[in-house]
Symmetry: C2
């Protein structure tokens, strides 16, 4: 399973029903948190998502609606007895903000907090594990801001059953074939792995574009992603306001998704001024039909 | 009207239904916020309390469950166009925590943020306005922590109608009498104000004791208060745990309220381990019958 669950889809001003930005990515049994607005820890509880299973937290930028909930979440993790290390990735000033708040409370965390500063000159891969690879890239916002690309690596080669039968490879050896092994027959002949398998399917990819003004430089990062998340703070009649505030509109997000050949587009970060969200779909789908609204509590399979 | 509304009654770990500490004091048309845990701004909206009418915010100490919601509230006030100055009273490090978070977001508030550091050597009156006087005092907690006493000044002298009639003072002059004026009769004789009035009734007083271990030094501050708020993080069987963590139990809070001759006791800051709150009343009332549970969304008249 590779999926993203929306915890908050609102822009700057939270309400009891619409929360500031936060998303959880699930892959196999792991969780990654992406942004952490105020109240994220309550949203995790509301949707029965276990805080303890989060190992990595990515913070796109230091506007409050993307990180004010982080210190509270970290604090609660410690109070709840967490001992597993936690990695936080974000702009370098975030570390100082966290440390000063721990310091004044005389709090010593029960667990190791590993902070990974995101620096403009170092965009690229920031996390590489067996299954997950995460890279970051700059977006254009009022303050330094980063998007993230989450790739679920798929390492098993695909067996071509007809070929495997021709070479009389027993089914018991198939899992070794998937890992790339050659097969040695009883008669001593060697069947090369690539005679009977194809390379692994491409990695599935979720691209989170954080907050940004309309910026075609994002397109290469979004290229053919399974899902792209792009903010649509405003409907398109407010494109001037969007530009003034370094935000985007429906039509702009859809245009980029189309240029990138993305498979699907998820839109969110809706301005608090809108009570109805349907118009966001109505404006986006004519440009890019495979668009979905980011709805709190809903999980989107990638 | 002089009243306190509970926004959060829980201790450290928030849940979607029980929020960290925050209270709003209403007097006439003014609002004062006391502590501001994560999610306070959403709680204000939930209970239709206008953020814009808050002029003073008091923060007792720098454990997160008492202030993590402050930066978000201040941020939203600015986004919503507030121009009236806001005063924040709290431990001195709080100012740096707020400023660094405004700085990294490149936020310039639309309004003046006046920070008043609470310093141990300077306990006493910290705010004195026409109607409201607030003083602060230390409690005994794991880090520096302060309680606050809110006194609603009542300045009108009380007229003794029989005496006023004897001296033939016309009713039209009564409002002047209430303000302390003498009355000069047509025959030139002067009726001294205190012949016909009594001093104003005593100020009504709400005393907020924040977080504290059992501490009889609090008693003088609680003396004869109309309502004392005292934390009861634990039921009394956990008095050792309470002491270890610089918190209090039901019986301890009730004992102090009784010693102080308080009129009523409000208890809160319940540990997240308790799902039922009735046992808190059951243990407190035998010692101090005039006890109430602090329930979120409920307003208590002072």
């Amino acid at each position: 399973m590779f999926a993203v669950t929306i915890l908050g889809n609102n822009s700057a001003i939270p309400t009891p029903d619409r929360h500031p930005t936060s998303q959880v990515i699930t892959y196999n049994d792991q969780l990654i948190l992406v942004d952490c607005g105020e109240g994220t820890q309550m949203q995790l509880q509301r949707y029965k998502i276990k805080r303890g299973r989060i190992r990595h937290i990515f913070i796109s930028h230091l506007h409050g609606d993307h990180y004010f909930g982080l210190i509270g979440l970290i604090n609660s993790m410690s109070l709840l007895g967490r001992i597993e290390p936690l990695s936080v990735y974000g702009p370098p000033e975030l570390e100082e903000i966290l440390q000063i708040q721990l310091h004044v409370a005389a709090t010593t965390l029960n667990f190791e907090l590993n902070f990974h500063p995101l620096l403009p000159g170092q965009t690229g891969v920031v996390l590489k594990e067996k299954e997950m690879e995460v890279s970051f890239f700059p977006t254009r916002h009022r303050i330094p801001c980063y998007g993230f690309s989450f790739s679920l690596q798929r390492r098993k080669r695909r067996i071509i059953p007809e070929q495997a039968r021709i070479y009389e490879i027993p089914a018991a050896f198939y899992s070794k074939l998937q890992e790339g092994a050659d097969y040695e027959r009883k008669d001593g002949k060697v069947v090369k792995n690539d005679w009977v398998t194809l390379p692994p399917p491409r990695a599935k990819r979720y691209v989170y574009c954080a907050d940004s003004i309309y910026d075609e430089d994002l397109v290469p990062h979004m290229k053919e992603a399974d899902i792209v998340y792009h903010e649509t703070t405003y409907l398109h009649d407010l494109s001037q306001r969007a530009a003034d505030r370094f935000h985007s509109t429906t039509v702009q997000a859809a245009t980029l998704a189309k240029m990138a050949g993305a498979h699907r587009l998820l839109i969110g970060h809706f301005s608090s001024k809108y009570t109805e969200l349907q118009p966001f779909l109505d404006e986006t789908r004519p440009v890019f039909p495979e668009t979905e609204l980011a709805i709190e509590g809903v999980t989107y399979l990638i």
